[in-house]
Symmetry: D2
């Protein structure tokens, strides 16, 4: 199941809508839920000294969202290499897409150095790759 | 002068670096300083009922930044139309570029409807357009 | 039901725990859920031009919380006057209280001026007052 | 010199003022500047494995602040023990106090265990204690 969330009051800005930086935080939460749904616990990965550092992110904002809106963030993994992982996202409200996004990730160790994704994760993720 | 800032402790995450969403907030602050330097006060624009809504944003993260790092965010305006404004950014530390970014904006009224940028702003901005 | 949430990665800091400012955002979300559970929609109140401005907040942090922890935030309303509302909170993890907090609110209009809470809200809230 | 800052657009909420959680982040930044002014680098302390964990924080909000307001956050240290440090703050705008706050800190090691503040820090801080 994709991440469901409510727009928090603290996430709004003086334009009366969710601030565009909040979406970046939601994408991350959606990615972590996506992994959990597939039996992969991001906390365990981090504790093993591996992080999926964000090397690029982009968001296209269509309609705005407002305080207390219930949103769903659908994630798919569109690229999987030992040193590069890519996700795409759709932020939905009442079945209507209000934003799309993409993030690119580099597995890194605790020192921030690029490493290969552990084989176990690579294999586990492979079944969930969606090639466009 | 471009925006100078220090990475706040609250902006770090458990990887020990500035969280990638913090950059989005810095870009916005840099854009507002860029306008101010050119005699354009974004608060005044907002009070007149015009906002530069963010319709897209993208960031490429090179090197990470850490708590207390002093960063500079250089902005340039690369596209200027009555219904579309584009900025590009470089986040610098000690003269080294650590991230690049771009944002696309749509002038909107208080109801969030797309409008034309007020002529006064369009003219004032025109002198500062940098075509790539 | 009290608010349940997961600590977001973006809410952690370089100490490896949820940053203390994140709790303030959770308290607000818990307060809004508390109202919703009692048939009071804070969005409707805001749209009617009434806000419960925060005039004071305090948090005592006991144990820290970590990325991906599942937390529950229990709220109770401990004071209710036409110009003052007080809430107390307990942040719980696995049945253990990890933080306590309090917030004090002043009903204000759109201009930020102190007003009396609408009678309908005052009456609806009265049944839920817990005097210590 | 106390911390000077501008209210960021991202820090506003739909009430049109700086969200109350933003103040918590500003207090932290003010505390870190206060230390720096006295020759104490918080980054160095953290790198040595010592953090000043926040064990309590409270804020009284007087007047609100708005986007682009220039604020000053004055900090003083009002208690200094090897296992407890307390700060008080005043958030000022144009010479007028708009909020007051207090934070209580416990020195902890990387595992989050309470430790004694290193003697060097204790001595260096002692000269700056302001007993009420």
């Amino acid at each position: 199941l994709p991440l469901r969330l409510r727009v928090r009051f603290a996430e709004t800005d003086q334009m009366g809508v969710a601030h565009h930086s909040a979406y970046i935080v939601w994408l991350e939460a959606a990615r972590i839920e996506w992994l959990r749904e597939r039996g992969l616990d991001y906390r365990t990965l981090e504790e093993a000294g591996v992080s999926l550092a964000v090397s690029a992110v982009s968001v296209q904002y269509g309609r705005s969202s407002r305080f207390d809106d219930e949103l769903t963030v659908v994630a798919i993994m569109t690229e999987l290499r030992s040193r590069r992982v890519r996700f795409r996202y759709e932020v939905m409200r009442d079945g209507v897409r209000i934003a799309t996004a993409e993030s690119l990730h580099t597995p890194v160790d605790k020192g921030g150095r690029s490493i290969r994704l552990p084989a176990m994760w690579l294999e586990a993720l492979h079944a969930h790759l969606v090639t466009p």
